[in-house]
């Protein structure tokens, strides 16, 4: 039972990170119809910014806020420089461009900071532990969960109840009609990238705060997994992204914890097989609407 609880808690931690990143994918996809493969690199940018700011002696709270802002600026720049000109190009062009941006950012980071892994030193408060139901939990785990919950609720409220949120939904629904109604598409897309970047920045900081070590290749794999989480839940649906994130983490953690010895190490393979199975049965994901063609 204790083992189970421990597994569950680690799945929830991981799932929160996936959920935050997956929401970013989902929002950008529903508005631009493209997948930003460079989204994962935003986690890297956030972590490296925080690390630099902390080593420059900036107080932790200020550094976190600045790191989030820097990441958002990068998000805007990526969209401006690389994606704006290919917005109406074919799908494969979009995939290639975002992959190229991802490779570029990672290589740039490697060139500046080299590829060795670095240690992120966060205040001691976060690494203190206490016991819940006989399982050790650290403060950062609680913070992770709280941040995810707060940000998810904030994003949902923003999209449902503000003017800009309404405009975002309109653009996602029908770009041309939204344009005719006087909605500035560029501004909406920028907003989507800012939201995605902020969520990714928080996820990156929480992730590297938890594992305390990070390197320039931290973003890509996390990004791919979070994207798969978004697909699992149904791209374009916020509920789907969150649910997908947690399901993905549950699968991963429980596959590695409970599969019999010998095949337990195949956990990544199993997680992807589940994804393929889900897509075969429900091509639009668990929470996706069937209206939009999967293309």
């Amino acid at each position: 039972m204790e083992f189970f609880t421990a597994q569950l808690i680690s799945a929830v931690k991981l799932g929160s990170i996936y959920a935050l990143v997956a929401i970013g994918y989902s929002i950008v996809y529903s508005i631009m119809g493209m997948i930003n493969f460079a989204h994962g690199e935003l986690l890297m940018i956030a972590t490296f910014s925080l690390w630099l700011l902390l080593s420059a002696g900036v107080p932790f709270a200020v550094a976190v806020v600045l790191a989030v802002i820097i990441t958002a600026v990068f998000g805007i720049l990526i969209e401006r420089i690389a994606y704006r000109s290919i917005r109406n190009a074919g799908e494969s062009t979009q995939i290639i461009t975002s992959l190229a941006v991802s490779i570029f950012l990672e290589a740039l980071c490697q060139a500046i900071f080299n590829s060795s892994s670095k240690a992120l030193i966060i205040p001691d408060v976060f690494s203190q532990t206490f016991k819940v139901l006989g399982v050790t939990v650290s403060v950062i785990d609680v913070v992770t969960l709280a941040c995810t919950a707060a940000l998810t609720v904030a994003v949902v409220l923003f999209i449902r109840h503000t003017r800009v949120g309404k405009a975002m939904r309109a653009v996602a629904d029908n770009q041309e009609a939204a344009n005719l109604m006087g909605i500035n598409k560029d501004r909406i897309i920028t907003t989507a990238f800012v939201i995605g970047s902020v969520l990714a920045a928080v996820a990156g900081i929480l992730y590297s705060g938890k594992y305390t070590s990070f390197s320039n290749d931290m973003g890509f794999m996390l990004g791919v997994k979070a994207f798969i989480a978004a697909v699992l839940g149904g791209l374009g649906s916020l509920t789907g992204a969150v649910a997908g994130g947690y399901i993905m983490a549950l699968l991963e953690v429980f596959f590695s914890g409970y599969l019999p010895q010998g095949i337990g190490s195949y956990q990544t393979a199993f997680t992807f097989l589940v994804l393929i199975l889900v897509l075969l049965i429900r091509p639009n994901g668990l929470f996706g609407s069937s209206a939009r063609e999967r293309s």
Partner: protein, 381 residues
């Protein structure tokens, strides 16, 4: 009388795609020594990999990011088949006995590996080819992760993450040249057959193609299988060049390198594989000289880690923004000139030489006229 264009002239075609490359090859081979030889071998293997990726990504419009996975299967299966029983038993603990006993010559081993890979790809394709576009891209990327995970963990077959080593160096320059030419020839014949034209039709408009009786699922599946067959051949040749393989060598990095070749050269054309592979094979070798730091006009440039990656990704982004279709675009000039019998039979006809001389002179005249005009404009008030 209408004279044919210079690019249609057999003599011109022969000079540009057969004679010139052959001379370049001989010069590089004799002047460069053994280091250049292995770079050249790598180039021809890359041509195979890029051309086979172009078949799915550019020609059929199945955007796959999973090429490295099939390359890995080809490399592993062929290596297991060519290694001797004794080597396998010392390297891989408890490999199934029947498998350890098998030892095949190089060519049958490569072909077996390619066929097995193709069949595996067929099974995978049945499941994943229902997806399209972005979804397919991510699923195929996931496939790279799955295959690596299997290679890492099936240690009684693959020796886990330590990989296999000690394969004989079968991939010599003549072998890879023949393999690359055969690959290009087969892919070219497929490309100009009804099958190949159905692929293009599907890429352009699925509904219109379907209305003409082209089966969406079977054409896509077959194209995917053919592509993976040659990916496996490329992987097998690669394994027998490097002589050491490990799962981590067939991961995202490799998949992206092949993709960059394909995109830079021109995804929609088999010919694009050649300039693409050339850029991605030779440029990193040149850049490697600079990555340790160098002096330019008296300015000391410090060592840059991963310079190759930065230059490559910038080149990649710039290409997409300014020349999305790659170096050669849609043109099949290289491959069609190489394999069209007329290129060779035309050399024995007098008309070829007359046309060549005429076209050449016309070109000269027009260049002269253009230059003249420019200088006159320059001298104006």
């Amino acid at each position: 009388m209408e004279r044919p264009k210079l690019t249609d002239n057999p003599l011109f075609r022969f000079l540009t795609v057969v004679l010139l490359p052959a001379v370049l090859l001989i010069i590089l081979r004799t002047a460069g020594g053994s280091y250049y030889e292995s770079v050249l071998i790598l180039f021809f293997i890359n041509v195979i990999l890029a051309a086979s990726l172009n078949l799915t990504n550019g020609i059929t419009g199945i955007f796959s990011l999973g090429h490295a996975a099939f390359m890995a299967l080809g490399a592993y299966i062929s290596s297991i088949l060519t290694l001797s029983e004794k080597m396998k038993q010392t390297m891989v603990s408890n490999m199934p006995e029947w498998l350890a006993k098998i030892q095949l010559p190089f060519v049958p081993a490569v072909l077996t590996a390619a066929v097995i890979t193709m069949l595996i790809a067929g099974l995978i394709g049945l499941a994943i080819l229902r997806a399209k576009g972005h979804y397919l891209a991510v699923i195929t990327l996931g496939m790279v992760i799955v295959i690596k995970s299997v290679l890492d963990n099936a240690s009684n077959l693959t020796n886990g993450s330590r990989g296999l080593s000690g394969m004989a160096k079968y991939s010599t320059l003549p072998v890879v040249i023949i393999a690359a030419l055969l690959t290009l020839y087969i892919l070219y014949r497929i490309r100009i057959s009804a099958f190949g034209r159905s692929m293009v039709a599907l890429r352009e408009d699925e509904d219109a193609a379907a209305s003409l009786g082209i089966s969406y699922r079977s054409i896509r599946l077959l194209s995917f299988m053919v592509s993976t067959f040659f990916a496996a051949v490329g992987g097998a040749l690669w394994a027998h060049l490097q002589r050491t393989i490990a799962p981590s060598l067939f991961y995202f990095n490799e998949t992206f390198v092949i993709l960059e070749m394909s995109v830079l050269g021109g995804m929609a054309s088999l010919s694009g594989a050649i300039p693409g592979a050339a850029i991605l094979t030779f440029l990193p070798q040149i850049l490697a000289n600079f990555s340790t730091g160098f002096t330019i006009f008296g300015v000391q440039i410090p060592q840059i880690n991963g310079l190759t990656n930065i230059v490559m990704s910038i080149l990649f982004i710039v290409t997409i923004i300014f020349r999305k279709q790659g170096v050669v675009g849609n043109s099949e000039y290289i491959v069609s000139s190489l394999f069209d019998p007329k290129t060779y039979t035309g050399l024995f006809k007098k008309k070829t030489y007359e046309d060549f001389a005429f076209a050449f002179r016309r070109k000269q005249r027009s260049t002269a006229r253009r230059l003249n005009k420019q200088t006159m404009e320059g001298e104006g008030p």
